[in-house]
């Protein structure tokens, strides 16, 4: 009888451990939950202007590399400022970054980059947030991983950190780069 009871407890513990382990695996997994996108969004094909005043036919024509980052920022955004130095490091490592200047003033934005340096290859100027709405921007900063055909592979909310970079982005850029 005692053995039977122990076995019952044993089976129960196994079940609980199994279930909790399963949930833990789910937590660690990268494909599950809100972080994966069920619909692949594409980079909007709309005409836009760059921060230097140049206007271009289609925003997606800026996507020259196999993979690049699109970083949403603004000079009024405090967290963007703290993220900036990390973006500079990434740029130095050779990661192509396109800036998306979001609801900002042209003078403030250029001044900001003059002081802090620019990590961006190109900068889209979007003072009314039109392109950003199309892209699905919720706030600043946000970083999108976009491939050459304009598909948004991954969207990162908030400040980009080394940890997030290693987990989500690094593998797309590891060819011929020292990361």
């Amino acid at each position: 009888m005692a053995l039977f009871k122990n076995r019952k407890v044993f089976i129960f513990i196994l079940l609980v451990v199994g279930f909790v382990g399963f949930l833990l695996a789910g937590l660690q997994s990268e494909t599950n939950g809100n972080r994966s996108q069920t619909v692949v969004r594409t980079f909007p094909v709309v005409s836009t202007t760059l921060l230097n005043g140049q206007s271009i036919e289609s925003a997606s024509s800026l996507l020259g590399d196999e993979y690049q980052l699109v970083n949403v920022w603004a000079s009024w955004c405090g967290i963007c400022k703290s993220e900036h130095s990390y973006l500079m490091t990434l740029a130095q490592r050779g990661v192509p970054i396109i800036g998306l200047n979001y609801r900002d003033q042209q003078l403030a934005a250029t001044g900001y980059l003059k002081d802090a340096g620019s990590p961006y290859n190109e900068i889209i100027y979007d003072p009314k947030g039109q392109l950003s709405i199309e892209l699905g921007v919720v706030g600043t900063p946000e970083t999108y991983l976009v491939n050459a055909s304009g598909e948004v592979v991954y969207k990162h909310y908030g400040k980009l950190t080394e940890k997030a970079w290693q987990k989500r982005f690094a593998r797309y850029f590891d060819k011929g780069m020292t990361l």
Binding site: M1, V9, F12, V20, G26, T31, N32, R35, G78, V138
Partner: protein
């Protein structure tokens, strides 16, 4: 300084509860002395938690954006009403609300007249364990009082989806319900902690089960109503993982309500009651884990952080292991009475409990299956409404059949009326139900007809019960409410329709027996949004007419567009109009839906909740009589 005082209160709760938990545990199991009392600590914690929550609310009301949580969920232009609701609008605040509710419930338990007894002290001990676990979790992993990294002069605003009267009540009620089950678990565990299993725990915790269950039901109802009215989806239940997460404890708690009845009065199903009491709160924790960790894809998109999930999982695992191992240890000594006959109310209750458990398992499987599938690397899969509807329908039909039968059965054995009369009553009510249905629709569906017939059977047999005992009871109201809800749900599922049209001012379309006329577009400015409002007139052949005004709102701070549907309700269904995107300079995509019998769903649920008030009122009146009686004796 205000923010710090709230934080200090939270720290005190964490320290006091964990110290007193350890101290009481030591006294209780090592020195066997019974001098330690948790009454005072429980009350103090309740006061501290209330203070802490009040501080957070005042930070919101006075726009203290130096706090990260306030900055992320509020804005100076947000109406005060919503500033207050924003307290539980995000993860950190809702965890504080968890702690507050836990403390509140345990404070309430400490007010019981027998609070100094060993049994009640054990209950408070289990509760203080939970308070400690969640207070530390809130403090270390999701502190709402932490400062923002950078100074901002303006907040990010509350998510517009949450800016609705629904938000003010939905999460707190849900939490009150969820966490209310911690008391039920504590009562059951305390009974198992005694050397001699004390059967009276069921008597003591009945009020708590019913109040927690009622609050959870109300919370789910308001959530559902909110999704229907605010989110503009036009449905009332979506089998979304987060909805399922709240349904799971609801189902086991409903089963508990049934089995408790058998345990309390007739010594039956005791182990069932204990297991259900233990599992319900575990499912509540699991629900919180699902919502907060973002492990399942859901419409409830919260800012998710996997690390927070680990802590919740740890609490879940410890609770599950401790409680069930204790139950296994005692299971041999707990003897339940046997059923006397298949045709008895006791056996029917057993079947009902079984049906609830099967339903729980069905929902559980459907909720977690996509995750298993993805983890095994088989690709993505979504288990949606078709699975749940297909499996829940036979269960519902079985439940309705059983519910209609119960009023005619005696507890021990036999029925109140003869088999011939029973079949006769069944046939008549079934025919009346189907008749009601056929009179209303042109194209009838067999499934809907079946549910109508069975619902009429449930109503007629409960009216018989009402007539026989001349007393309105929880059971009568709840079962009639369920019957109404089932009719509403199937009618809604089978007889709703929708159409999408491009409409410009001064155009109209004709549908079936009514005409829809787009009159004009209006613009106005709200407190933290701007809106376009369409004025759309419905006119029926019979001469009725009404105007609805759906809106599209643009929230500047979050740069979000929200559609505000307009609804015109009738007893047989809602006309539900959503203003879609602007198609050209003048016209909009307009979605017109007819949602059949939705009012029946709300009314059925309200009736169930109303039913739960009856035993609570009775309990309250007993308490007041006892109090006045006691006062007289003392004087």
């Amino acid at each position: 300084m205000l923010g710090e005082s709230g934080l200090l209160a939270l720290v005190l709760i964490a320290l006091l509860s964990s110290l007193s938990f350890a101290h009481y545990g030591w006294c209780r199991f090592q020195t066997k002395s019974s001098r330690a009392s948790l009454t005072f600590i429980s009350r103090l914690n309740a006061a501290l938690a209330t203070f802490s929550l009040a501080v957070l609310a005042s930070l919101f009301l006075s726009d203290q954006f130096q706090f990260a949580y306030v900055a992320a969920h509020s804005n100076s232009a947000l109406p005060p009403f919503f500033k207050f609701a924003a307290v539980w609008g995000g993860h950190e605040g809702s965890m504080l609300f968890w702690v507050f509710t836990l403390c509140l419930w345990s404070g309430l338990i400490s007010l019981h007249s027998m609070h100094q007894s060993r049994y009640f002290q054990n209950v408070l001990w289990v509760m203080s364990g939970f308070v400690a676990a969640f207070a530390w979790f809130t403090l270390l992993a999701s502190n709402p009082f932490s400062y923002a990294e950078l100074f901002v002069s303006e907040g990010r605003d509350l998510n517009p989806m949450l800016q609705d009267i629904g938000l003010i009540f939905h999460p707190p009620l849900l939490y009150l319900g969820y966490i209310g089950f911690s008391t039920v678990l504590a009562f059951a565990l305390a009974a198992l902690l005694e050397n001699q299993y004390d059967h009276r725990w069921i008597e003591y915790c009945r009020t708590w089960v019913i109040s927690a269950w009622m609050l959870l039901t109300l919370g789910i109802l308001i959530g559902s109503w909110w999704a229907y009215n605010e989110l503009g989806w036009g449905g009332w239940w979506f089998w979304d993982p987060v909805e399922n997460a709240s349904l799971l404890p609801w189902l086991t708690a409903s089963a508990l309500l049934h089995s408790m009845r058998a345990s309390a009065r007739h010594q039956q199903l005791k182990l069932w009651s204990l297991s259900l009491a233990l599992v319900t709160f575990c499912l509540s924790i699991l629900g919180t884990f699902i919502v907060r960790s973002g492990v399942l894809t859901s419409v409830h998109a919260f800012a998710v952080d996997p690390t927070k999930g680990v802590a919740l999982l740890a609490i879940l695992a410890v609770t599950l292991l401790c409680s069930f191992i204790l139950l296994f240890k005692h299971s041999d000594r707990i003897k339940s009475a046997q059923f006397n006959a298949i045709a008895s109310r006791g056996y029917a209750v057993f079947l009902a409990t079984g049906l609830f458990c099967v339903a729980t398992f069905t929902v559980f499987l459907g909720t977690f299956y996509p995750m298993v599938y993805e983890l095994l690397g088989l690709g993505a899969i979504s288990v949606g409404a078709p699975y749940f509807n297909a499996l829940m329908l036979p269960l519902t039909i079985g439940a309705l059949l059983l519910m209609g039968l119960v009023p005619y059965l005696k507890w021990r054995k036999g029925s109140l009326i003869s088999l011939r009369n029973l079949v006769l009553v069944w046939l008549i009510s079934f025919a009346v139900g189907i008749g009601c249905y056929l009179a209303q629709v042109k194209d009838w569906q067999p499934v809907v007809a079946l549910v109508w017939g069975l619902a009429a059977w449930v109503v007629s047999s409960h009216l018989y019960l009402l007539w026989r005992y001349r007393r309105l009871s929880f059971m009568v109201l709840a079962h009639i409410g369920i019957a109404m809800l089932c009719v509403g749900a199937v009618m809604n599922g089978y007889h709703s329709y929708e159409l999408n049209r491009k409409m410009a001012p001064e155009t109209s379309i004709d549908i079936d027996n009514f005409r829809v006329e787009y009159q004009e577009t209006l613009w106005y400015v709200g407190p933290n949004y701007t809106a376009e409002q369409a004025s759309i007139r419905f006119s029926f052949e019979q001469g009725q007419a009404f105007v609805v005004k759906p809106e599209r709102r643009h929230y500047q701070v979050r740069v979000m567009n929200m559609s505000e549907p307009a609804i015109y309700s009738t007893w047989h269904g809602d006309y539900y109009v959503t203003l879609g995107a602007k198609v050209d300079s003048q016209s909009y995509a307009v979605k017109i839906q007819y949602r059949a019998y939705i009012l029946w769903v709300w009314c059925g649920a309200l009736l169930i909740i109303l039913g739960a008030f009856l035993p609570l009122l009775k309990q309250a009146s007993i308490l007041t009589t006892r109090a006045t009686h006691g006062a007289i004796q003392e004087s």
